[in-house]
């Protein structure tokens, strides 16, 4: 499959990567907000993961991967968690779920199912990291709850992203630009 690298002009690709990095940095700050009801903690810790999932496919891959690396450490710093946890998680996600192989369907339900699969994989990956690499205990309930909350807010998040993409330029700007389009 021909990658997005062939069709996105370099300056625009760089711009997408920078925009995505800045937006994700803001989401990292927002993800620190949490609420507690009846001993249950509701948080948006997985919010930046959704941004990685919906990373612009036309973004410069080198800049993107560097941006995600730095964003991971930023998230570790903000959440006071083990250093390296988020960069490893997001980079592995980004390298496996490569932008040039992504589905660019605009169908919300399809994207929702995709997000559920990705979040479930991130959930399992982080538990495995905590158990086998960090040798430390993880609050599975809290992790599961943050995944479920993200699934609930995903449609809103997706629509905001779509709307912003249209507002700030051509809708296709944030997607893989195929010559067939």
């Amino acid at each position: 499959m021909a990658g997005s690298y062939d069709y996105t002009p370099a300056p625009r690709a760089r711009r997408y990567a920078i925009i995505a990095t800045v937006v994700t940095a803001v989401l990292c700050v927002i993800s620190q907000i949490g609420m507690t009801f009846d001993g249950l903690e509701f948080g948006f810790l997985m919010l930046p993961t959704l941004a990685i999932y919906l990373w612009p496919t036309g973004a410069n891959p080198i800049l993107s991967v560097l941006g995600i690396f730095l964003l991971g450490f930023f998230q570790d710093y903000l959440s006071y968690g083990p250093t390296g946890l988020w960069p490893v998680t997001w980079l592995v996600l980004f390298l496996i779920y490569r932008p040039d192989l992504r589905d660019t369907s605009q169908f919300l339900l399809w994207q929702w199912v995709g997000a559920a699969i990705v979040l479930a994989c991130v959930w399992a990956f982080q538990i495995a990291l905590a158990k086998f690499v960090l040798a430390s205990s993880v609050n599975v309930k809290s992790l599961t709850l943050s995944v479920l909350i993200m699934l609930v807010v995903f449609p809103v998040f997706y629509l905001i992203r779509e709307y912003s993409a249209r507002l700030f330029g051509n809708r296709n700007d944030f997607y893989y630009e195929s010559p067939a389009r």
């Binding site: 990658g3 997005s4 690298y5 062939d6 069709y7 996105t8 002009p9 370099a10 700050v29 927002i30 620190q32 907000i33 949490g34 609420m35 507690t36 009801f37 001993g39 903690e41 948080g43 810790l45 410069n60 891959p61 080198i62 991967v65 560097l66 690396f69 991971g72 450490f73 930023f74 710093y77 903000l78 959440s79 006071y80 968690g81 083990p82 250093t83 390296g84 946890l85 960069p87 490893v88 980079l91 592995v92 980004f94 390298l95 982080q126 990291l129 905590a130 690499v133 960090l134 040798a135 430390s136 205990s137 993880v138 609050n139 599975v140 309930k141 809290s142 992790l143 943050s146």
Partner: protein, 326 residues
């Protein structure tokens, strides 16, 4: 277009290589924070490497204001739901509080009598065994509470500008909330008692049995390092023992819950309600003799340097006072 295509081909090979390298680097960082004592934050260790201002809090200082604004609606919702719940059982709560008040007025009378007695003994023995808990407190607002799966911490909107230092105890209205692990100019980070890296020396006021309360990243920390003959009973009130010489003794923590033959959990008193405002207790930790003498050496050196540089102009040097020896 050809240029873009060439760049694309190059990117296709470089991307996985750079990506892979970055994963390895991040993984090495992760390995370095693996288990052991690396991330463990006992109050003593926090206070030992306490700097007046931690440089790592620079970013937190900058994001504290937007974060405070963003959390406001969430704190409001949290408070509203909490208050709604409280209203639903207001009569039962009122009756319970009245009963408690009558008990406490008797206890207050006894406490006052005891305080007078202790003061008299102190005067007789010329000893000062006053309370460790400082009278002066610093009020701070919890801007964000991170109850994530891997860490539990909170960000306060007070820092060195208000006199907050590493190792200071942080209290809610009810009980101990955590201790300060990083301080910026206008912000500070609190490591909550539930965090897996939290270690606090505690005791039972009833039996004076000691233990270390260790966080588990869940709502219930556990008691470890309990002596075989220690007298712990289900329902025992737990307070800080101050044995690490950093936290004051007697700060309420929670209640002990027996979870098995050798398993003891702690039901924290600070949990169960929305935490908004907290108190930072500026307790000065007891220094080790080594630290104490090191500080004395620095002070001596400073004095010697000042003497070598000479007396600043305008300062009168007092004439040497002749001693009896001449």
């Amino acid at each position: 277009m050809l240029g873009d295509s060439q760049q694309g081909n190059r990117g296709r090979f470089v991307f996985p290589i750079i990506g892979g390298l970055l994963v390895i680097i991040a993984f090495l960082f992760l390995l370095s924070s693996r288990g052991g004592d690396n991330g463990v934050e006992t109050v003593a260790s926090t206070a030992a490497h306490s700097a007046p201002k931690s440089p790592s809090m620079g970013i937190a200082d900058k994001i504290i204001v937007p974060l405070a604004v963003m959390t406001m609606p969430f704190r409001g919702v949290e408070k509203m739901i909490g208050e709604g719940r409280a209203r639903s059982d207001v009569y039962a709560e009122n009756a319970r509080l009245k009963a408690r008040l009558s008990q406490l007025s008797d206890a207050e009378m006894r406490a006052n009598a005891l305080a007078m007695k202790i003061k008299r003994f102190e005067t007789l023995l010329s000893a000062d065994v006053g309370l460790d808990i400082p009278a002066q407190k610093i009020a701070g607002r919890v801007v964000s509470e991170n109850n994530g799966p891997f860490a539990r911490s909170a960000l306060l909107n007070v820092g060195t500008n208000a006199g907050v230092r590493n190792g200071h105890a942080v209290m809610t209205e009810q009980a101990l909330y955590g201790h300060i692990v990083a301080v910026g100019k206008r912000s500070s980070r609190v490591l909550l008692l539930e965090d897996i890296n939290s270690r606090i020396a505690v005791m039972s006021p009833r039996s004076e049995a000691r233990a270390i309360m260790v966080g588990t990243n869940t709502v219930e920390p556990k008691l470890l390092f309990v002596a075989r003959d220690a007298d712990w009973k289900d329902g025992d009130v737990i307070v800080t023992s101050g044995d690490e010489g950093v936290l004051p003794r007697g700060l309420p923590v929670g209640v002990m819950k027996q979870r098995g033959a050798d398993k003891r959990g702690v039901v924290l008193s600070s949990l169960g309600q929305a935490v908004d405002w907290v108190w930072v207790y500026p307790f000065e930790p007891i220094q080790t003799p080594e630290q104490d003498s090191a500080q004395q050496d620095i002070a001596d050196k400073d004095t010697a340097d000042e003497n070598e540089m000479g007396t600043p102009s305008g300062v009168e040097v007092p004439a040497a006072v002749p001693t009896e020896d001449g």
